[in-house]
Amino acid sequence: MQPGIVRRWVVMLTTALCVVACSERPQDPFYESGIIYCSESNPVNFNPQLDTSGTTADATSHQVYGRLLDFAADSGRIVPSLASSWKVSADGLTYTFQLRKGVSFHTTDYFTPSRPFNADDVLFSINRWRLPTHPYHGVSGGRYPYFESLGLAENIAAVNRVNGYRIEIILNRRDSSFLANLATDFSIILSAEYAQHLQNMGTPERIDHYPIGTGPYKFNSYRKDHFIRYQRHDEHWQNQPSAARLIYDITPKSSLRLAKLITGECDAIAFPAQTELDIIRERENLLLAEKPGLNIGFWAFNTQRPPFDNPDVRRALAFAIDKNTLLEAVYFGSASRAKTLLPAASWAYQGDADDTAYNPVLARKLLDDAGIEPGFTMTIWAMPVERAYNPNAAKMAELIQRYLADVGIRATIVSYDWTTFRRHLREGLHDSVLIGWSADNGDPDNFYRPLLSCGAIPSGTNRAMWCNEDYDELLNEALQTEDIVRRKAIYQQVNRLLYERLPLVPLAHAYRYRAYRDELDGMLINPYGGVRFGGVTKAL
């Protein structure tokens, strides 16, 4: 072989490769034109009315849609949105909303609206989930879980169009959480004109997959497990400066999301894992937004099984565990200790509520008094999935197992796959279970009612199978008044009752995290509900 040929050829090749690969990453202004958000999963569809999962809400409610009311990002107070003002009648049964004028729906390649937003759209949006007879009620399955779980449809007597820009809603019973419910991620406004158009075309189900709304971004395309593309809605009524493009990069693995955030392939990521928070805090170009989560992780006893029907036994078990250690080992400090069902983010939070303290001696004494011999065996069910409110139930169960052993109770840990697990729970086969709850708005009723009311036993959210008439009565009473101070007082009574009866031991309120690069400007963390990209821009 001729000398030198190989060497020259190697040099040439390396140079060629380097030209394309070794150069610095591009910093073209083009990369400022869009925001990439790495989300954790696929949305079920593009209509949050149909689904309570946070993923669907994150992907749609604040991007594509608008609501009559909104929660202010800083204070969490209810503020006007598509309704510019509202009025509540003296009896608390009639709500009148003045609608904003000149709000335009999205113009896309699949639909061109001919008129701006008006009362018809509100009527359509509410009646779709409210009236079983509505032509769109049965489209896409016909289940509206959020509204069903609160019994909202039954409580609304009528929704009337007063004129093109004014509507009134009449309730059967007073409901002081009604406005909050209208501001949640699920109470979005659809386009009645688009629905009519689709019905004429014979494809009504497209309304939930090719969405049209009034939000700051309009839908462009979606590929499952890959991405969702949105474009800026240039005629958005708030007229905020937003990035021209918004892309959801669907990345289920949290470690991969973090890696992409570090390399700049994502500008913001959903739910970094607890163990990764320090990495984000250490890096100067990454910002971590934490919000107190509207959730609770708890340890519920099956109050229909002896000896757990005895409040003293439940109290004894509560005294046997050290909540702070659990918090440290399972949440790595990313949760606050729960005293009651309500997290501090709720306006009805009671800071001075009674709480059980670690006291194994007292626990043993209570057990002896209740006639529980040392060597008593029980089961702890640990949910098999990771949730913000309990990222590692199995680990927590092992820790509790150790604490119970100290007071002479032998605990066995039980787990099934998630579906079977929930079915067996509903059947009440457990002695105790480690599980939790994520609420949809800050209203206390959203915690107390689904978790422990008698009516929640058949629907399967009352894991303690606990039914107490005094408790239910107090909850109903609290909904009868708009007076915050009065309501707070009632919920303090509820807390006292729960502390005495202790159907479940509240353990932790986990923080919810989002991380983003400092190139993003205008990111606000919404304490209630989904992520918002309206008004967010990027500058490299």
Partner: protein
């Protein structure tokens, strides 16, 4: 020969011995063999060598860095993982699972492959040709694909992934055995045996098999390196060994979640697989060149 010989006696080492002498002359090959022997020792005596139970979790010692780093502790040589398990112990057991299952499956594939290959080598005619053609074509289907299908039918697990890899390795043993038997059948010493009245069975066990052993060892090391890579790849993809079973690929996949926080959880199991495969390849390479040199001289 190192030993001093008083008489000028002519020394004729057996072919196997000659191969070994050639092999021994290559230092790299010997190092490879020693490393491989070490890994085999790990596999055989894992319970005695591992300082901790590979499954024992320890909440008080999560993600301790390896002992040579500033924050490391000597009590955990390679540090601990996200559940506080000792990485060194897990890797020792990992060698056992990964290398052990690979050796088992290679032996199984060899047994089946040689059996079918011999039959195919003796058999002639159109039928054999069609089967051979098909076999050759199907041999091209990637192991990963076979594994995915087996997992879909019977579920995940180390044993299932072993089946998949065995299936994928069999054709190459068949192929080599068939060519070998074919070539050998034409040789004169076989003809001589035949004339002596040896049956096919006798021919195979007394004449062909002894000659085939070298080929099988070489093919076996090749197959072993593929098997180790495939077993750990399937474990890594969560299609093979399931956590908490300490299989090197599965350990690596476990470490992936904390890759940025605790890179040793990814680096060390991977390094072990790499060293294992490298040692096998070096030994295989050494064997082949030793054979080649023996034949040339």
């Amino acid at each position: 020969m190192p030993q001093f010989s008083l008489y000028e006696e002519e020394y004729h080492p057996s072919p196997l011995k000659r191969t070994w002498i050639e092999f021994r002359n290559s230092h790299i090959a010997v190092v490879g063999l020693v490393v491989l022997a070490g890994l085999l020792l790990f596999s055989l005596f894992a319970p005695f060598l591992a300082p901790y139970d590979p499954l024992a979790q320890n909440i008080d010692g999560l993600l301790i860095p390896p002992s040579w780093t500033v924050n490391g502790s000597i009590s955990h040589l390679f540090g601990t993982d996200a559940l506080g398990r000792d990485v060194f112990s897990r890797i020792i057991y990992g060698c056992r699972v990964t290398l052990g299952s690979s050796i088992l499956l290679v032996l199984l594939a060899m047994l089946i492959g040689v059996t079918i290959g011999t039959v195919a080598g003796v058999m002639q005619g159109v039928r054999s040709s069609v089967i051979n053609h098909l076999l050759d074509a199907l041999m091209a289907i990637p192991t990963l694909l076979i594994a995915i299908i087996i997992v879909a039918i019977v579920g995940t697990g180390l044993v299932n992934s072993m089946w998949a890899i065995t299936l994928a390795l069999i054709p190459q043993f068949i192929h080599h055995t068939r060519s070998f038997v074919r070539a050998e059948m034409k040789k004169e010493y076989i003809l001589a045996s035949r004339l002596d009245g040896a049956t096919n069975r006798q021919l195979f066990f007394n004449s062909i098999l002894p000659n085939m052993i070298e080929m099988l060892v070489v093919q076996g090391t090749l197959a072993l390196s593929i098997a180790v890579i495939d077993i750990s790849a399937l474990g890594f993809l969560n299609l093979g060994a399931q956590p908490p079973l300490p299989e090197l690929g599965a350990i690596l996949a476990d470490g992936l979640d904390v890759a940025y926080l605790a890179p040793w959880n990814v680096a060390l199991p991977g390094l072990t697989i790499f060293v294992m495969v490298l040692a096998i390849n070096i030994v295989g390479d050494g064997l082949r060149s030793a054979l080649r040199k023996r034949l040339v001289r």
